[in-house]
Amino acid sequence: MFRTFGFEEFWFILLALRWTIALTAIAFAGGMVGGLVVALARTSALPMLRYPAVALIRVFQGTPLLMQLFLVFFGLNLFGFKIDPWFAAAAAFTLHASAFLGEIWRGCIEAVPRGQFEASWALGLGYKDRNVSVILPQAARIAVAPTVGFLVQLLKGTSLASIIGFIEITRAGQVVNNMTFQPMVVFSVVAAMYFALCWPLSLFAKRMERQFSKALAR
């Protein structure tokens, strides 16, 4: 009673692609907001802001993404939330992205030359104006390439959400494989879809990197 892999099966996986993209988009958007907060806290002069940011980054860097996913998934249940793969995956990946983008952007903020900070202090610019008008625009230029690089990691990482029952393309591939028993075909298709998304992003990141090093050389 096995089916053969045909258009219908392909279509089933392709439809699941939107959930891969949606989960990535939510996590990335949330991670941009969270990451900015983490990066600013991490570079703050105040220890009470800096230390929690350091702790958060260390925890997320030092544990596997899958464990983070499990802990949020089961942890939410513990606190009385209904087990919902969508919500758990979105929350876990957002936290994960916040910590990693926070650390990436910390590096970018610290890469802005010291003289830029000193010039803004000397002009009497306050915290907000200094960051909005001087430091962050310069850090953002440095940040584009590594940020897109992280987006690629994040997109591939969403495949782990299949383990908690979130139906994205990896999970869809498993479902199709259970019906067809053609793992090489099925998972090649799934891998090709990841590749089709990630490769252009990687190219974009490479191009931004080259542009940035050119701008520096000027």
Binding site: L125, V134, R141
Partner: protein, 246 residues
């Protein structure tokens, strides 16, 4: 209160870890006065002026600027910084902003000036440093000398009570040193209060009211330029002058 000095430093001490950068520094800078600080590298002269707007924090002593105590109070520090213009060795222009935007940023954000007013002020000062035609360019498109003149204009746009210059010509190619020194001389003649760290002894002789020689974090000798260059009192000053004057 009118006789109050613009800057009063009393018994200031500053350490970088184990290294004492400033030893018992007391210095008054009066309105309209031009002071040149000189001394061998590592003598603490840059550190001294960087303490005046708290780019460096001091460990001991007192600094008053424009009648305001430069204490730990963050508010005081920001208020003082608005009144103190600073020009750096490396210019430190904002590379992502045009020359005009560099000059307008602090007046619009800190003084809440309107865009039109800030632009008018900026153009006035860019004309004063003789580069109004570069207003729409980015810093990277200018020569070092031009960048430093923009940096001077940028500081002047905040109408500071005092201007600090931290080796403003040390990073410049030789042929550009004079355009910057000329700008500073003009500024001095217009009555600006200035503290200048420099190795340009010709500038010191021509412009300074007082020349201060520092060595190992101490003020060794203070004199008017004439006395300083023709009959220095201290051995260390004589040695230093012997090395820099040729």
């Amino acid at each position: 209160m009118t006789a109050d000095p613009i800057v009063r430093m009393v018994n200031v001490e500053k350490w970088f870890g184990e290294f004492q950068a400033l030893r018992n520094i007391s210095l008054d800078v009066h309105k309209g006065e031009k002071i040149v600080l000189c001394g061998p590298s590592g003598s603490g002269k840059s550190t001294l002026i960087r303490c005046i707007n708290q780019l460096e924090k001091i460990e001991q002593g007192k600094i008053r600027v424009n009648g305001i105590e430069l204490t730990e109070g963050k508010q005081n520090v920001e208020t003082i910084r608005q009144e103190v213009g600073m020009v750096f060795q490396q210019f430190n222009l904002f590379p992502h902003l045009t020359v005009l935007e560099n000059c307008m940023l602090a007046p619009t954000k800190v003084r809440k000036a309107s865009k039109a007013d800030a632009a008018a002020t900026a153009m006035r000062f860019l004309e004063r440093v003789k580069i109004p035609e570069q207003a729409e360019k980015y810093p990277a498109q200018l020569s070092g000398g031009q960048q430093q003149r923009v940096a001077i204009a940028r500081a002047l746009c905040m109408s500071p009570k005092i201007m600090l210059f931290d080796e403003p010509t040390s990073a410049l190619d030789p042929e550009m040193v004079n355009e910057v020194l000329d700008t500073m001389t003009d500024l001095a003649q217009e009555g600006m209060t200035m503290v200048v760290v420099t190795h340009e002894m010709g500038f010191a002789r021509k412009v300074a009211d007082r020349v201060i020689f520092m060595d190992r974090g101490e003020i060794v000798e203070t004199a008017d330029p004439e006395t300083f260059f023709t009959s220095p009192q201290q051995e260390r000053t004589k040695t230093f002058l012997g090395q820099v004057m040729h």
